[in-house]
Symmetry: C2
Subunit: 219 residues, 2 copies
């Protein structure tokens, strides 16, 4: 019985890694669609979100079945409950990738943000992909050093997010209202990936070490 249960927990983990890996691919495609105005890639992200939603729903059903059949307690129970929460965050990251892809599609053939902001968004996008990749690796390996790295990269993403507002509100900003709206929403979406990744990383770290770092406000 115990062995069956360990096998089932491994399957939960494998499914989380699979979903995280898909989310990572979607974020990569979304930021590329956004930076390069690639409308075909944007369509792919929008289609893939349905797949991510379905896999997250399947994982949730699987986790609930484990709770019903195995009635886990203590750490095992917390692993299953955490899996449900992590799947909800991953699903939300997929939604946000879709929002970014939709911005790229609406503005096609124009780019979403003007030249003066492109380097900033390229860097935010690069960090988002890196954070998503580290998240997949963290879920696969439970190497908690990755959780620290994710937190550090989230700080960099937050700083870039603020720098977008500095630019938009600065004297050299030449964008009209449409560019300002787009830059605001796009920056907010790019920034949210990091928050979700930090929140997931905290859960994995807690499971691996039993040490629950205090929540940061608004995370």
């Amino acid at each position: 019985m115990r062995e069956v249960f360990q096998q089932e927990l491994r399957e939960v983990q494998d499914r989380l890694v699979e979903i995280s890996s898909l989310v990572e691919g979607s974020i990569e495609n979304a930021v590329r669609a956004f930076n390069d105005s690639n409308v075909a890639l944007a369509e792919t992200v929008i289609e893939d979100d349905t797949k991510i939603d379905a896999l997250a729903a399947e994982l949730d059903e699987h986790a609930i079945q484990i709770l019903a059949r195995q009635a886990p307690v203590a750490r095992d129970l917390r692993i299953v409950v955490s899996a449900l929460r992590i799947s909800a965050s991953l699903e939300r990251m997929g939604d946000i990738a879709e929002h970014i892809a939709q911005l790229a599609r609406y503005r096609f053939p124009d780019k979403v943000v003007p030249t003066s902001l492109r380097a900033t968004f390229a860097e935010m996008g690069r960090l988002d992909v890196e954070v998503a990749h580290k998240l997949t690796e963290l879920l696969r390996t439970e190497d908690t050093r990755l959780a620290e790295e994710i937190r550090d990269e989230d700080d960099k993403i937050d700083a870039l997010h603020l720098s977008v507002f500095d630019k938009v509100l600065g004297e050299t900003w030449k964008g009209g209202a449409a560019e300002t709206v787009d830059a605001t929403l796009a920056s907010r979406y790019h920034e949210r990936f990091g928050d979700h990744a930090v929140s997931i990383a905290k859960k994995v770290r807690y499971l691996a070490t039993g040490d629950w770092a205090p929540q940061r406000a608004g995370a």
Copy 2:
């Protein structure tokens, strides 16, 4: 044993109603702080978010203890798992109320949005408070007609959210970049309450009827 369990489930429900009621109060205070530039009320919202977070964490701990001690199955298990998800959504609604309060505080003594948008935001805020109130009642009574009403009001909130962009992108918009950024973020926050309420209402409706309405994209 069964009676103890039913008592514990009722306690979970009572706690959800309590948190929802606090969130409702925070949304009411946040939209009032926002519309009237009331900085003291904004501070209250920001403080109350800590309380909401703590109560949600306590409820989660309580739900996990029930899973460990009672090993519920079937519908009982789904009630407990849904409670964990509902508490996560309520906690997030508290965060968003805090974001709106922060906007009001940053701009004080100015108002966050210019005169031309005030009626729209007042109406969105009124609907947000109404939706939050109906959510508390839905959690208390499980009257699924409230779930339908919440969905209808969310549609109205979405329409108002789009109308903000129409105004900001229209020819009569006189706001500068700062007003445009603020209106964009404020509208997005006002709109998110409805999404979370619809998502919670779907879970309650599912538990009450066993009928899982298809998810709407981006909800």
